[in-house]
Structures are given as structure tokens and as C-alpha cells.
Amino acid sequence: MRDAFVQALTALAGTDLRIILLTADLGFGVLTDFATRFPRQFLNVGVAEQNMTGVAAGLALEGRIVFTYSIANFPTLRCLEQIRNDVCYHHANVKIVSVGGGMSYGALGMSHHATEDIAILRTLPNMTLVSPGDRWEVREATKVLVQRPGPAYLRLDKSAAPDAPRAGECFDLDKARKIREGHDITLAATGGILGEAVEAERMLRTKGIACRVLSIHTVKPLDVDSLASAARETGGIISIEEHTVEGGLGSAIAETLLERGVIPGFFRRLGLRSGFAGVGSQEYLRKRYGLDSLAIVDAAVSLLRSGRREVAVVA
């Protein structure tokens, strides 16, 4: 996803001189081409995320389209107040990019697990929160974010679902993408973990279970219409995110559907529930915490078996 983003931004920066990419001294080997081709549109601010975000706000107020780039929680939580006050309050045109959403950097340990960022950043006024599921979405979302003024957070994952744009499909940042159609159950995923949902759909199909798979590439604003349709037209919803269940995608879905008065037949949030995650590859950690395709299949089967009115509540 990272490379897809950099390629997309490189293509855009050549024609739009307002674009400037700030990095907090990360992106070894990845940003070299961009920096060489566009030296006036690239700035390594050093390991100083608070300053990076404040500088970004200042540049944006002078008409630049600013991307701040770092990994894991560094461009988000480390400088959260700068994002809130300097960027969001001023509706500054700053796009925060984090490479390594969820447990992409699983073996590096808890400092590099971005597993609360969605919950925290989606509460910020004026913020658009984009968490693409595949590389096509990354490229398309990058183009849209350049066109759309205002603060945004682009959460990039090391993993990605297979690109699957329909022929002639137009990307709409405000609409969830229906990756598969089905009426037994909806799998609503955000981020690269969409790939696990797609794989789970395939496995469930062999069991005679037809899944609707939604890529919720944009968590804020949330496409409530697509989710309400999913609640009405399918047996129930499983939300899937490489993130704590507290305040993330599943929470956002539950809040908005309940408020709209649309109650799915069943509902379960798949995400992290047990505090800080351990150490290991993204694949290993997904398996360990019940977030891989097999765990999604198990959840779907048990929810369908136990009756459509069950609402799973797990502390």
C-alpha cells in the first residue's frame, strides 16, 4: 500500500506544485525518487512529529496541500494535539499518512502497533478518515484527498486485499465498496484485513453461505446507507478491523445503525479485545487474536447457527 501511495502522489506532484510531502525522517528508500524529482515539494523535518504537524498547518494555510508521513503512531498519537488544534480547528489542508496501520509492524513490538488510531482520530472535528483495503483504493483515495480540501488521515497497511475494481468502477470516497454480493451475512472490513474477509467469503461459499463483503475504506464519514442496507438485506453484520474493538469501525457501525433504528439480525465486532498485542508477523498476530480468515469463518458459522436474533456481546 505504501508504494501505491507514493506512486500515486508522485504522479500528482508533477502536475500540482501545491503538493508538498513532509516526513519525520522515515521512508528509507521509499521516498528517494519523490525527493529527487521534486526537491521543492519534499521536506524531511527530522524526528519531530509535533513540529512536522505544526509546520504542515502553517504551509497549508498558505495554500499548500501538505502530506505528513511517518509510521505507526508517530504521525498521529505523538502529535495528536497539533492535529486537533493546528490542523482540524483551522480546517488546514493537511493529509496525515501513517504507514503500518494495525499490526503491520507486529514484530517490532507494541510501540509500532497502530491499534487505537481509528478510534482516536475519528473523534476529531473536520477529520476525514480513510483506511483503504487494497492498492487500487489507496491510489484512488490519494487522488481524491488531493482534490478535497481539509484534514484527513490516510491509514496504510502493509497487507492488502487483491485489487478488484469492477470494470469501469469509479471510486467514491463517501461510499463503501461492495466487493462481493450475498444475503446470508455481511462482512464489513476496513484496511488491509479486507483480504481476510475476501478469503473468508470464499471459504464460506463452499459451505453454502453467501456473504456480502463491504470495504469500508472510509470510516469517517461513514457510509451509513450501505451499512443500513446490509443490516436489512442480510442476516447480520460482522465488522472486521485490525484495531481495538473499542471505538473503531465496529463501534462506528453500531452507533450509527442503532441511532438510525436499523438493528441487524446479529452483530459482532472482530478486533483486538485483550489489551496490547504480542510480538510476531502480521499473519501470526491475526491468527493469534482471532482476526484471520478462519476466525471470520468460525464467527460467521456460529452466528448463523445460533439464530439470527443473537447479538453477541463479549466483554
Partner: protein
């Protein structure tokens, strides 16, 4: 390569002593009516604000977003009342608006905010933000070859924030000689004297060692302040620091040099005595 800023003459538009006096009197009234917001911190920088808004800054009150304006970021946002008063006196908005300060439904909050307040460049209140933003404004101006200057007024307590030093290092690295950091060095912070909390001395040397050109002035002496502003950049290729030695609560004898008046609101006889002292100022 970043080009040095070219000096251009700026007319003195108001008498700065008179403006400082009015800033203090307005701020006393605003904080007393509203029931809060940092009178001591306003008084310590009232002369700095007055020199800037009496001609030090190249601004157009009738066209607050004029692209050629000098940018002023009040990083010590808790002195917002002083900036509002300066802007109103300078003609950015009617003086009557000052009466709403700190009141229900007002645009004028205790920490400076730009929404619906013409002339406020940036909203602050949390310390350690303004200098970074000013760096962004200065970098953008340099990149565009624009001749305007960027001023950030920061507090001494704010220099406890690591982010302030991130910005200081950044500005020097990028030779932002269109950037001016003015420190309201009143030597009192939230709970105690600066020297008892986190000593900043040797303060000017710290700025210099980070690559700035620092100049120490009496922050209540208008001639010195004006001279400093007119001499910017002090050195081509370097950001300028005006280390302004000030007195917290300056202008009202019983408010001077006391932490209490960072927070306290003058009421009753205290208000009357303070107003009398300010009105008797030459």
C-alpha cells in the same frame, strides 16, 4: 537557496505608548467583566503588541487576509485579550466587540481564536504550537519568494515545551530569516519563577547555539522594541530572536511580579485602583 528578506519602510500608524495604554485598560475591563483570563500575562506583552500593531507589522485592517501582510502568531494564546484589544484599536473590528470577551456565546475566548475575529492569524492556547506553525508560514513565504515577515510571540514558560525547541531547530536549519521569535521573558510561569521550575539561562545563548540571531531588549521600552523590529533580520540567513525582558503584570503596581495575577481577576476596589494607575500612565 533561500533569499534574504528585503527591508521595506513601514509607516507608524498610531502612537505605540497610547496603544499600549489602551490595550491595558481594555484588557483590565475585559477580564473583569468576563471574570477571567490572564491579566498578568497580557500586561507583560502589552508593549510588544503595541509596537507591532502601531506600525511594526505591515497589515491592512480593512483587508485582514491581504496576501502581502506580515503574519503574527500569538503562541502564548492566554494573552488573547491583549491581541483582541490591539486589533480592535487598530481597526480590524469594532471596539464594542471587546465587551463580549469571555462571555457566553462570544467569539472572543480566553485563549486566542480566529473564528469570526478578523486579524487573528492563528488560534492557540495550548503552549508550544505557535512557533512550529510560524515556521510553516515562513517556509511557505520563502518558497514563494514572498517578502512578508512572520512574527511569533512566545512565553518563557512555553520554552519548557519540547516542541518549541523542535521549531527553533527547524527554523535555523532552513535559514528562515523572515521569521521572528519574540519571547515575552517575564520570568514567572504557572506556579513559580522560571528559575525555580526549569531555568532557561543562559537563554540568549541557547537561541544562538541553535542557530538564531538573538537580541535582548527591554520589553517595555518602545524605542528598543521598534529598533529591534526594524532591524530584522538581525543576520541574513538566520531567524531572529527578540528576547524581551518584561515584568509580569506591568503597569499596575500590585500586579507586578506576582504569580497570583496570572490568574486573578480585578474586581471592586482592586479594579478601581488598577484603572486609576493605568489612566495615570503617561
Amino acid at each position: 537557496m533561500i533569499q534574504p528578506h528585503k527591508e521595506c519602510p513601514r509607516p507608524i500608524l498610531l502612537d505605540s505608548r497610547e496603544l499600549a495604554k489602551r490595550i491595558r485598560i481594555h484588557s483590565l475591563g475585559m477580564t473583569s467583566r468576563g471574570g477571567g483570563a490572564h491579566i498578568g500575562a497580557i500586561f507583560s506583552c502589552a508593549d510588544i503588541l503595541a509596537v507591532l500593531y502601531a506600525g511594526g507589522l505591515n497589515v491592512r485592517p480593512g483587508d485582514p487576509k491581504w496576501p502581502g501582510r506580515d503574519r503574527f502568531v500569538l503562541s502564548k494564546g492566554h494573552a488573547g485579550g491583549g491581541l483582541y484589544a490591539a486589533l480592535a484599536e487598530r481597526g480590524f473590528f469594532p471596539l464594542e466587540k471587546l465587551h463580549t470577551h469571555y462571555m457566553d456565546g462570544s467569539d472572543l475566548c480566553g485563549h486566542v481564536s480566529h473564528h469570526n475575529v478578523p486579524g487573528v492569524e492563528f488560534s492557540t492556547g495550548a503552549l508550544g504550537h505557535g512557533l512550529s506553525v510560524a515556521c510553516g508560514l515562513a517556509y511557505a513565504a520563502k518558497s514563494a519568494g514572498a517578502p512578508h515577515r512572520i512574527f511569533a510571540l512566545i512565553s518563557d514558560g512555553e520554552c519548557n515545551e519540547g516542541s518549541t525547541w523542535e521549531a527553533i531547530a527547524f527554523a535555523a536549519q532552513h535559514h528562515l530569516d523572515n521569521l521572528v521569535g519574540i519571547v515575552d521573558y517575564n520570568k514567572l510561569q504557572g506556579l513559580a519563577p522560571v528559575s525555580e521550575v526549569i531555568e532557561l539561562e543562559p537563554f540568549a545563548e541557547k537561541w544562538a547555539s541553535f542557530g538564531w540571531c538573538a537580541r535582548e531588549v527591554n520589553g517595555h521600552d518602545h524605542a528598543s522594541l521598534r529598533q529591534a523590529v526594524q532591524a530584522i533580520p538581525f543576520t541574513h540567513g538566520k531567524p531572529s530572536c527578540v528576547l524581551a525582558h518584561t515584568i509580569k503584570g506591568k503597569g499596575v503596581s500590585f500586579m507586578e511580579n506576582t504569580v497570583l495575577w496570572h490568574y486573578r481577576v480585578a474586581r471592586g476596589s482592586e479594579y478601581d485602583s488598577a484603572l486609576l494607575e493605568l489612566e495615570q500612565t503617561a
